[in-house]
Amino acid sequence: MDMFLYIDRDSFVHRLDPRTKLLLLLISFILGLCIKSLTFLLGLLAVVLMYGAAGGVLANLRRIRVVLLMIALFSIAIWTISIPTEPRFLIFSLDGLKYGIQVALKTDLMIISGMIFLSATKIEEIAEGLVRLRMPYRAAFAFSTAIRLVPMIVATSFTIIQAQKSRGLDLDSGSVVQRIRRHVPLVVPAFVSVIRGTNIFAMALESKGFGYSDRRTTLLDLRMGGYDWLMIAGALLSASVVFLLSESVAYGATLVSGGF
């Protein structure tokens, strides 16, 4: 399984500052949650997809197409059945269908936005962007190191699996539950092989001056350019206009007046 989500391109989206992209991601989440109008939700989805197309990263959506489809089908099916208002056809209600489509769009929109962000932003940029946003360096370091370690840990696990298979462990036959149960004893050696390196890893970091000073220089020089400010201003302005035009301003009122 290819664990790396980043797609290397030289596009307008890739050149944006990671802080700008984080803010655009946040605005898309907020709008996605607050907007109730299906028209505006579809419009927002179209804008997000255009943003992803501008970055040339929509290919990554293929990796999560099954998840997106399942979310849509699950939401529509469940809410169509469970909201018992008229008009209805058998057990399916029109209000439930509308609500299910709304929830499906909201959830898929957030996942697509997140995927586009990760596909167009390097891990180092995310970490440095978080540091510029006043996250402590050590936390950002732990975050970026963890992401880099995931493929290594998966590879180590595969090696352990191959070693156990060569000793007669059968992981391929039986039901899904049986196969999962046979994988369980492999967790301990994977855990041990990863954690064993902690002392050496810590020594290596300290030998390179990790934690020597709170004031660090960085190879990555992040600067907010004209396009960054333009995108931020455009996103904030558009969000304000959408809030004024859509039915979503009522969201806050609905939250307060929700029944006991």
């Binding site: 975050f143 963890a146 696990s157 990863v194 002392n199 939250l255």
Partner: protein
């Protein structure tokens, strides 16, 4: 809560955060396809790790569980719910080690989580269940506020999905791992400065009791309020047509969640005993 921030001074603890997060994410990602609620949660044998990481690595395990869950979300469920997933999984690892130290379930002179006695195995089971419930409370409350998923359905699914692996797989894992971690001087109580490690005492006991009460009241009180609003347990919760975003659920579960967080700031520190 002091140790949650003081731990960042220690390079070994920072490394343990990264390794814990990487391990958790590596175990979460392959099971993203075994969906229980699309875009929200899936079948998670990886739920064994937060309790184990919390008891062995303390605050590093808690941060690692939170970050690891966030990284796992990158592969198919990143959304605003990920914020509550971050906090919930942090609590999933944090609550067990706090309660292990403070609730008085294990002898004060033998706090090692080596599970060498029935008493310690029982204590592990209790703290693991409470950790799982704390995670379920935070995430279900968050998604109820956002009106995305009914509280009773999500809370019950996450409680079971977290508690079962933690209980079934966690006990043998701890028995096997503890001697190795101890030998390598990687227990969090061995790495951190003694003045930064909370100790059993009156305040720790009060904090632990309050924490347990807030978790149980918040979650089960939330369930009662959710039933009154027409919600149901597990997948029935989606079929009963209940009111998502009901004020009663939000208030009761909210009090539980906020109480859980605030109770963690009460603890006995070594300086209090001098």
């Amino acid at each position: 809560m002091n140790e949650v921030f003081a731990m960042w001074k220690k390079t070994k603890m920072v490394v343990l955060v990264a390794l814990s997060a990487g391990l958790y994410a590596a175990l979460l990602i392959p099971f993203k396809g075994f969906v229980l609620i699309p875009g929200i949660t899936e079948f998670r044998p990886a739920s064994v790790l937060p309790v184990v990481l919390g008891l062995l690595f303390g605050p590093a395990g808690a941060w690692g569980a939170a970050i690891g869950n966030l990284i796992g979300d990158f592969f198919g469920s990143l959304g605003v719910g990920s914020l509550f997933g971050f906090i919930g999984n942090f609590m999933f690892a944090y609550v067990p080690y706090k309660l292990w130290l403070g609730l008085g379930l294990v002898p004060r002179d033998d706090l090692a989580p080596d599970l060498k006695s029935t008493r310690k195995i029982t204590a592990f089971s209790v703290v693991a269940i409470l950790g799982a419930l704390a995670c379920a409370l935070v995430i279900a409350w968050g998604l109820e506020i956002l009106r995305l998923v009914p509280f009773a359905a999500l809370g019950s699914i996450i409680s079971l999905n977290n508690a079962l692996p933690a209980l079934v797989l966690g006990i043998p894992m701890m028995i096997v791992l503890y001697p190795r971690i101890k030998k390598w001087d990687l227990l969090w109580t061995d790495i951190m400065n003694p003045e930064d490690v909370p100790i059993p005492g009156g305040l720790s006991r009060i904090s632990s009791i309050l924490m347990a009460l807030f978790i149980i009241t918040g979650l089960f009180g939330g369930f009662v309020a959710a039933f009154k609003a027409g919600q149901g347990f597990l997948y029935e919760g989606f079929g009963t047509g209940g009111d998502v975003g009901s004020m009663g659920v939000i208030l009761i579960a909210g009090v539980g969640t906020i109480g859980l967080v605030f109770s963690s700031f009460i603890q006995t520190m070594p300086s209090d005993k001098k």
